[in-house]
């Protein structure tokens, strides 16, 4: 399964970059010029270091979705089918990583597709797409 990972040895949480990853994700993947809508969010801690809101494709949201709008694709990536989605936002509420995103202008939520577009623009090379085994389905 394809998974986006971040290395905080390299990422300095936006102190020496312009959050290129977020902007590129928002523009290229979700076609909005607003980094707050990106599927990843890099936050700096005041005392140094940082934290990333990233989807690790754990699949919890697939389990809670009532309309089967969420499925893994061939690469193991959890993808949303917007025509089936009923906009209940249970996926958002049940994602422990807060990685399922919502844009107030859209009725369906959105998430990371492990496409790797952000990886290419990170000036510090802190992001990567890795291949890891799919986790077992959890009862939640």
């Amino acid at each position: 399964m394809k998974q986006l990972v971040i290395d905080f040895q390299k990422c300095d949480a936006g102190r020496n970059c312009n959050h290129e990853c977020e902007l590129e994700c928002a523009i290229k993947v979700f076609k909005v010029d607003d980094p707050a809508q990106a599927a990843l969010q890099i936050k700096a801690y005041e005392d140094g270091g940082g934290h990333a809101v990233l989807c690790d494709q754990c699949g919890d949201c697939v389990v809670v979705c009532p309309s089967e709008a969420l499925k893994r694709n061939k690469l193991g990536v959890v993808m949303i089918n917007k025509t089936v989605c009923v906009g209940c936002y249970m996926c958002i509420g049940f994602c422990e990583k807060d990685a399922f995103m919502r844009n107030s202008d859209w009725i369906t939520p959105h998430k990371c597709t492990s496409c790797g577009i952000c990886v290419k623009v990170c000036p510090h090379g802190a992001l990567a797409i890795v291949d890891v085994p799919e986790p077992a389905v959890r009862i939640i």
Binding site: V64, P66, V86, G87, Y89, M90, G93, F94, R102, I140
Partner: protein, 741 residues
């Protein structure tokens, strides 16, 4: 009590795809349908929760017409149960009985119903004159029919008249077609009928979730306790499942009108079909609540794992689980049917909400049950539930502790179209009558109705479905059975009346109220008879101990029936209100009201309708409808103090065994509450003291509650109260009340 820990490794693996299918006869059944009437209309979606029109269908004359929703209807009645009562009032006269053609069945979802972002927002309310109580009954039910009806363009459906052949009403909310079809060869029982109709009216597989069917079954036809199944398509199991409008016999009215089924085909559901005024607030409130469930459900009620059955063991531990017709409050075999069992037996890795967005997901399903009796013997079926009421009513209250039999009873109640709660309570009554010699094998036509005899219990139900034998007598319900047994001289009338657990003609639901004064009032001082929709106070009173004083209890009997009525005006489920609470709830003022959730409801109403309300307005909205319903009861010849009387079993120990099983507690009450000395007194004498004290206390409670509700001591809303609520705008309402002041 220690908190139950969920162990996923213990969940039984059951292959639900092995379920028996019933689609074989579909084509022939479809070919036999004959169109009796068809009209076209313009479908529309709601605006701020309302479509602003309702649909009237007369199944006798085949008249179909639209009616506008007036501003007054919205201001006074809001929707749901309010709209139902409003239409019913206009349809019937004081002399109308349940089986007259002018009686109606009204289904209305309410303005908030159909949003998908908050838990428990897909309910509809069903209202009719009840064959059991002969006054209005209302039932709050899940399934997709209500929301899909609204998304097809109607805030309510009124069904009036009586057909002379079996019919189906089909509403196609996509194409704009309403059709009444004769259905001469359709199967009778819900699990077969709804599966066939769902596939018959869906245009393709993707359309299956857009279909919902309302149906009942064979026993509804031959009894007064019929219920309605509201279907929803379970995408993961790929099967049709049900939620029930159970109480009060509306299924019997449905069959009396010879309606076989109602089918709606709605548009594909999306998150914005209800067109709320402020979707952002709804989204934020919904996500906040979903997170709360994720974080707290596992350590609070485990609704997602067990559904409502999670309280079986709590009720047992607190001596409140009804055992043997409400005689006792616990049983050594309870562990066989408690939630540690159900969470292994119910399928777990699936989504069990009865409408989209219900993160509480209590609508559990037990798959893979192979039936041992009846017309479907040998079939493998999915059972909806069991809910707490079924486990307690069909189980402990009748002494049935075999979970497979319990599931089978549950399954047949559902498919035969009878209320599980009612059936449980009436069977418990029959079994106690059998124990006490009021009934015997001869009087039951050979049924050995001993405690726990599930086979005899099932046979009685099959008889009810066939309209034969003792099953037919039982199907009249407890009230009419009592009258029948007394008339035939079967036993001591006082004993029969004391142990027959009904009030206003409706059977008690499954909580032992004997030790909870608040719940005694919660059951008997209700508009529609004893259920847990209006006032479920037993947990607050006995487990959480949040109502310590007499005044607290009386106040709770003012506030909670009104608060809970509001769910039914709007199409909410009441479970998400307090089956999970915010982590800091207990430190909040008035914790028992769950203030954060009350605010959520206020916000959801305002965000849907655009009408600004406060938590105080919410109570006023309910009070209008609640008092209207009370006056409606009076108009129909009930609704006075005498009709709020409770059977003694619900107030105190009827028999020596009951007293002695709790002698220590009861003796102590003689000292503490009555200031007397139990020493040297015989059990009979002590029982008499208790009876006097308990009935006196109940009567005092009535006085206090009526006064707080703004009613006379005879239970009649005063003219001042009606004026305060704006109900004086309805001269007919004022007229009814005037005759009783």
């Amino acid at each position: 009590m220690s908190q139950l820990v969920f162990d996923p490794s213990k969940v039984m693996t059951i292959d639900y795809t092995q379920r028996t299918e019933y689609l074989d006869g579909l084509e022939a059944i479809k070919a036999a349908h004959k169109v009796l009437k068809e009209i076209t209309y313009t479908p529309s979606l709601p605006d701020k929760g309302y479509t602003n029109r309702t649909l009237y269908v007369n199944v006798g004359s085949l008249e179909i017409k639209e009616k506008p929703v007036t501003q007054q209807m919205k201001d006074v009645f809001i929707g749901g149960r309010g709209f139902g009562l409003y239409h019913l009032w206009n349809a019937v006269k004081p002399t109308t009985r349940w089986n007259d053609p002018e009686n109606e069945i009204i289904i209305s979802p309410g303005p908030v119903s159909g949003i998908t972002q908050y838990a428990g927002t897909g309910k509809s309310l069903v209202v009719s004159l009840s064959p059991q109580t002969e006054i209005p009954i209302d039932s709050n039910v899940g399934g997709f029919y209500g929301p899909l009806l609204k998304f097809s363009g109607f805030d309510a459906l009124e069904l009036q008249g009586k057909s002379d052949k079996d019919i189906i009403l089909f509403i196609d909310g996509v194409k704009g077609i309403i059709r009444i079809e004769e259905a001469p060869t359709d199967p009778v029982d819900s699990h077969v009928l709804a599966e066939i109709l769902t596939h018959m009216y869906a245009e393709n597989e993707a359309d299956l979730p857009n279909i919902s069917v309302v149906s009942t079954g064979a026993a509804a036809e031959h009894s007064l306790i019929g219920m309605l199944n509201f279907s929803f398509y379970d995408r993961r199991r790929k099967c049709v499942r049900f939620k029930q409008a159970g109480r009060g016999g509306i299924g019997s009215v449905f069959r009396n009108k010879r309606i076989r089924a109602l089918v709606v085909r709605g548009p594909k559901v999306a998150g914005d079909l209800n067109h709320p005024a402020d979707p952002e607030t709804i989204a934020k409130t919904g996500i906040k609540y979903h997170k709360e469930i994720r974080e707290n459900d596992g350590s609070q009620c485990m609704m997602r794992r067990n559904g409502t059955a999670h309280i079986v063991e709590i009720m047992d531990a607190y001596d409140l689980l009804p055992v043997h017709n409400f005689q006792y409050g616990s049983h050594p075999d309870t562990h066989k049917i408690d939630s540690s069992y159900w969470q292994q037996r119910c399928t777990q890795h699936t989504v069990d909400g009865c409408w989209y967005g219900c993160s509480m997901a209590c609508a559990k399903g037990a798959d893979g049950l192979v039936l041992r009796t009846g017309p479907y013997k040998g079939d493998m079926v999915t059972v909806d539930g069991p809910e707490y009421e079924n486990a307690a009513g069909l189980g402990s209250n009748c002494g049935v502790f075999d979970p497979d039999y319990l599931l089978e009873l549950n399954f047949y109640c559902d498919t035969y179209g009878i209320c599980t709660i009612t059936y449980g309570t009436l069977t418990a009554f029959v079994m106690e009558c059998y124990q006490r010699g009021i009934l015997d094998k001869q009087r039951t036509g050979g049924l050995e109705m001993t405690w726990g005899n599930a086979e005899a219990d099932l046979e009685m139900m099959h008889q009810m479905a066939r309209g034969e034998g003792f099953g037919k007598i039982a199907g009249m319900g407890v009230k009419r059975m009592k009258e029948y047994f007394i008339r035939n001289g079967y036993g001591d009338p006082q004993l029969i009346n004391d142990i027959g657990m009904e009030n206003k003609g409706l059977e008690y639901s499954q909580y032992m109220s004997k030790e909870s004064l608040a719940q005694q009032g919660g059951y008997a001082l209700t508009n529609k008879g004893p259920q847990h929709d209006e006032a479920w106070l037993i947990f607050m009173d006995m487990v959480n101990k949040q109502l310590p004083t007499f005044e607290d209890k009386a106040e709770a009997l003012y506030y909670f029936p009104l608060f809970r009525t509001w769910f039914g005006l709007n199409g909410f489920c009441k479970l998400p209100w307090n089956d999970v609470v915010p982590a800091n709830n207990s430190s909040q003022p008035e914790a028992h009201k769950v203030p954060e959730h009350v605010q959520n409801y206020v916000d959801l109403f305002t965000a849907t309708t655009g009408i600004q309300i406060t938590k105080e307005d919410l109570i006023v909205q309910s009070a209008k409808v609640y008092n209207f319903q009370r006056v409606f009861n009076i108009r129909m010849g009930k609704g006075l103090r005498l009709h709020d009387a409770a059977p003694y079993r619900s107030l105190g120990p009827v028999t020596k065994e009951e007293y002695e099983s709790r002698a220590e507690r009861y003796d102590k009450q003689i000292v503490d509450e009555m200031g007397l000395d139990p020493k040297g007194k015989g059990t009979e004498e002590k029982m008499a003291l208790h009876r006097e004290w308990r009935t006196g206390r109940f009567s005092q409670l009535m006085d206090a509650v009526y006064t707080r509700r703004g009613w006379t001591l005879d239970g009649v809303p005063t003219l001042e109260r009606l004026k305060e609520l704006g109900l004086d705008a309805f001269p007919e309402v004022v007229e009814v009340v005037k005759q009783h002041l």
